[in-house]
Symmetry: C2
Subunit: 318 residues, 2 copies
């Protein structure tokens, strides 16, 4: 079957030259963190400790939390999940958070989102001590990110930045298109990528165009074709097509959607027409195995950062 052989070969070439291997980078980061955590504990510190609060029984949320807890354990971060029934009142969730805020043996607290509709996501995120807010969702930490002050950068955005850095993708004075304006991915990406490199939480000096559901398709194509980096975080399958990509551009796909293929099988895909775009792009993330694993790795990074900061008493109360 020479047809298949040649396809396999082509895929391999694409892989070697163009694929941003997020799975590999995430593993590298987790190995680096494991070494750092061990060294830190040898200095006499207790293990960092991360607590996840999961309200309800959503299977996807359960799986996400399990992945995070597993990664934490592998690194040497103590991790636990507090499962609360989906009938739990907001005040009870906040009481639980307050207990963890007051517990000096806890470094990182995350509330897995979404929470059931009777609970305010904002109230719950703001209840977490900003110094333990490893998701970076407290309003105070969002303000700090906007001002490029040292803070917990939301893990997915931080993961994309880390991929850009490790693959040495130039950003200074380059054009970036961010598709999707979500408060925890698209917007933090735009905040980091456009801003000045001289800040405490450095920016990346790019010209950023933030596109979203109300950007007309022809305008999205116009901006995307000029972009050196396209970051898509929309959940719209096949939003980014080959004719929208400048040859050699870096394409980062944050989207993750479960679809059913023609033969009835279930499959995860991103926002990018991978087969087509990978022929044009200079670098491209696959889905799965691109940005996804980076989110978990950077959450671990944030947890260790919280542990160091809390232990060393570097608590800036502003």
């Amino acid at each position: 079957m020479p047809e298949v052989l040649s396809q396999t070969k082509k895929l391999r070439i694409v892989k070697n030259n163009k694929i941003i291997d997020g799975k590999k980078v995430a593993q590298d980061i987790q190995k680096e963190l494991k070494v750092e955590v061990e060294a830190w504990m040898k200095e006499g510190h207790r293990a960092p400790r991360l607590i996840a609060i999961l309200v309800g029984e959503d299977p996807a949320s359960k799986k996400y939390v399990e992945n995070k807890m597993k990664a934490a354990r592998e690194i040497g971060i103590k991790s636990e999940t507090i499962n609360l029934p989906d009938t739990t009142k907001e005040s009870e969730v906040i009481k639980e958070i307050n207990r963890l805020n007051a517990d000096n043996s806890v470094d990182g607290i995350l509330v897995q989102l979404p929470v059931p509709p009777h609970i305010s996501e904002r109230n719950v995120c703001n209840a977490v001590d900003p110094h333990k807010d490893v998701d970076g969702f407290h309003i105070n930490n969002i303000g700090k990110l906007t001002n490029n002050m040292d803070t917990f950068v939301p893990a997915t955005a931080l993961g994309v930045i880390e991929l850009i850095k490790r693959y040495k993708v130039p950003t200074f004075g380059k054009n970036v298109v961010v598709c999707g304006r979500s408060k925890n991915v698209g917007l933090p990406m735009a905040l980091l990528l456009h801003s000045d490199a001289k800040y405490e939480c450095p920016g990346y000096e790019a010209t950023v165009t933030l596109c979203h559901r109300h950007t007309p398709p022809e305008e999205l194509a116009f901006f995307a074709r000029r972009a050196d980096i396209i970051i898509s975080a929309t959940g719209v399958v096949n939003l980014i097509k080959p004719d929208m990509v400048k040859p050699g551009a870096c394409v980062i796909d944050v989207g993750i959607t479960r679809i059913t293929t023609e033969n009835g099988k279930s499959k995860l895909v991103g926002d990018v027409d991978f087969e087509g775009v990978s022929k044009v792009a200079g670098l491209i993330t696959p889905v799965p195995g691109g940005v996804g694993p980076m989110t978990v790795a950077m959450l671990m990074f944030n947890t260790f950062k919280a542990a160091k900061s809390l232990t060393e008493g570097n608590n800036n109360k502003n």
Copy 2:
């Protein structure tokens, strides 16, 4: 002198059709506020009260504060300036702020920026009670703005938005170029203009490109030519030239620079080549008399908002 006559006539036509008269709009807003403040006081409330802290003797800062205090008095807002010598310690400035925070007869507090270099602008801004922070510079309020939650929007950005609204400039799905990424003008503009209209602090649904000092000139021109709205807040004289503007576009000039003309006179100019661009643009703000007066008007808006919110006890402590 028919030459001059014809010029005068042309200018008048331009004025009637194209000029965004920020001075007039600011006066309208101040008149509206005066009526509202009077009605509110008739309900039995005391007059709103705004305190400015001015550290040092910078003549431009003094002038800005005077303009604000004068506008306040005209509206019926009690206003005072606390002058502190430029040798004042940061801790003393913060002590003064704390005294005002604790004083229930004070609704709005502003610290005129810049402060002398031995004082941290950030520490001072964060010392102001977020509910009295009429400049919107507290980190908490910046976080709220980023999340489109109800807050004090920095006055200049709010002023630009108000001009866009009152001149009925469409933004939904339109292209906006913001030049300049300052934390108190360019960035808040981008945050408001790109975001969803459904939020508590509504966004304006535009596709926003944020350009800055490291955007190459040819890229700035590329984005500007596609823009339905150009907002320039850089302080770079003649940055926006006629060939960079799409016919009919709305051009808003936030820049303000004092230059010396050929005949040795001093003159205020903006970022936009007004004479050239006004021939191409559909709407354009002059400098002076465009965005400048709006900043003062919107500070008054924020002060009355603070007074209402504090009096009515609508203090969201998050």
